[in-house]
């Protein structure tokens, strides 16, 4: 991976150092906290594919996350399907939901805030549905049976869980990197920057956008299915609630939308901030969301390209030798 500046390298090294240091921290709190953040980092990367690279800002990524979680949970609880298979189907279900929402929204040319509103509506409709039917466990949600073991995709050892999640996050970032460096990635950015120019250059923009939603959906479904295997319990608010959608978009925006590392960096940073606030003011639950909002407003105003964009300004490596000739 190529970085443009010393600042970005420092940022990435700092994040990696933190992730490694978690192994050696005495308090188990850190690992638990970071495990949560890593799952959010996956849904954040999911948002980054469509919102960051493709410029389609969704406000309802919970629809993908929840679909992955519910698909996997229903199969395991109601039909006794093997957890590994259910997990895989959860990913596919997320991708299918992404494709469905994308196909509908882009068929009617929805963009910008209209697209955001429609995705929010999808997530809300799914949330209400999930709390209304028997198959989804209605208002009481679905509980997986506690059966630790690799065969059941349940790992009681926190360190193992943490390591596996690190691997998953690394894989998701690798896929994102490959997308960024591919024809598809270039087309996605072209669609973000100027859809008409993209169409003129032979790009089937509808197809590209729906494909992006499918990939994003797969990542989203993955995050939801991971959450289920970790906590063994879901209900409609936990996986379809708007808190998920907000966490999905805020990490990439703070960290740097349209970059490979941005979602992870933003998510970790925010969670550290939120956690810190909880310890400083233990009597104000929900304060972390207030903080998130403040940080988001500041980021949108002062850091249009996120922390990665800010870091890029520090110690730029690429010398513009060509400018001397021009």
């Amino acid at each position: 991976m190529k970085f443009n500046s010393v600042g970005q390298i420092a940022l990435v090294v700092a994040v990696c150092a933190y992730l490694l240091s978690v192994y050696f921290m005495a308090s188990p709190v850190w690992m638990g906290f970071t495990i949560n953040a890593l799952i959010v980092a996956v849904i954040a990367q999911s948002w980054n594919i469509t919102g960051g690279f493709g410029g389609m800002s969704s406000f309802g990524h919970a629809a993908l996350y929840g679909t992955g979680a519910y698909a996997s949970a229903i199969l395991q609880v109601q039909y006794g399907v093997n957890p590994w298979l259910a997990f895989a189907i959860g990913i596919v279900a997320g991708a299918a939901m992404g494709g469905f929402i994308g196909a509908l929204a882009f068929r009617y040319g929805l963009k910008g805030s209209y697209f955001a509103l429609v995705t929010l509506a999808f997530a809300e409709v799914l949330r209400i549905c999930a709390s209304s039917f028997d198959i989804t466990g209605g208002g009481s949600g679905l509980q997986l049976k506690l059966e630790p073991g690799i065969a059941n995709l349940q790992f009681p050892d926190r360190t193992v869980v943490y390591t596996l999640l690190l691997v998953v996050v690394a894989l998701v970032m690798l896929v994102t990197y490959m997308i960024k460096k591919s024809r598809f990635g270039a087309y996605l950015v072209a669609v973000r920057e100027n859809e008409d120019a993209a169409r003129a250059l032979g790009i089937d923009t509808y197809k590209i956008k729906v494909q992006a939603m499918v990939i994003s959906g797969a990542f989203g479904g993955l995050a939801g299915a991971l959450y289920l295997q970790l906590w063994l319990f879901i209900d409609s608010t936990v996986v379809y609630g708007s808190a998920v959608s907000i966490e999905a978009l805020i990490g990439p925006i703070i960290g740097g939308a349209g970059t490979v590392w941005g979602p992870l960096i933003g998510t970790l940073g925010l969670h550290l901030l939120g956690e810190g606030a909880k310890h400083l003011l233990p009597n104000a639950p929900g304060l972390n969301f207030v903080l998130y909002a403040i940080v988001l407003i500041c980021a949108v105003r002062f850091l249009p390209r996120g922390l990665m964009g800010l870091a890029a300004l520090i110690g730029t490596l690429k010398t513009r030798k060509d400018e001397d000739h021009a």
Binding site: R183, A190, R192, E193, A198, A200, L201, G202, R320
Partner: protein
Amino acid sequence: MLEVRNLSKSFGGLKAVSDVSLDVPEGSIVGLLGPNGAGKTTCFTMIAGFTQPDTGSVTFRGEDITGMPPHKICTRGMIRTFQIVQPFAGLTVQENIAVGAYLHHHDRREAMAIASQVGKRLGMGNMLDRPASSLTIAGRKRLELARALATGAKLLLLDEVMAGLIPSEITEIVGIIRQIREEGHTFLMIEHVMQAVMSLAETAYVLNQGKLIAQGTPRELVKDASVVEAYLGHGAAARLQDENHA
């Protein structure tokens, strides 16, 4: 190469383009002229598939492409550029051109190699690594041309590539267009800059209020009374004639 027959388009009660027919033979440079609001760009959007014509047909290399979406038309070898150039700001110049090259070359290395080749051909060799947003207007117009060429298109519809350029830049781009034509490309260009049209186009069509009012070589057209009136107003041709005699 391109045959347009009886193209019409109305927006509400306004007939933006009515009954326009034109031909672009392979290897030629054809101009499309007319005062502001004459319907030139609307013609382009219909030919390139961005809007559906109400009536009429567009045939490209013997195939009826009327109403086909732009990306399919582009795959067949016809591409339009935009009057208001908009590079993909987040990408470098080379990556911008590569977006065009990706059309027929799926591999990134190949596309980037073609992009660099096309860029150098258009005299942008020293700008390839710069962000596209840092280019001047002249640079952006060139980039627009480079991106279009990189798709491998044979017929280029240029929408005012010279607008907003200073005379020395116009001379440069005229040279570039000539060179591209020598390499086997065909052009249909909307142009306001008469110097450019006069020196480039073999034939030109003049649109006024959505209708074709004249066609011929540029030299014939500047003498055509209806063309002069379209630009300068009713009776202008006669007044000019009087002044010339006086």
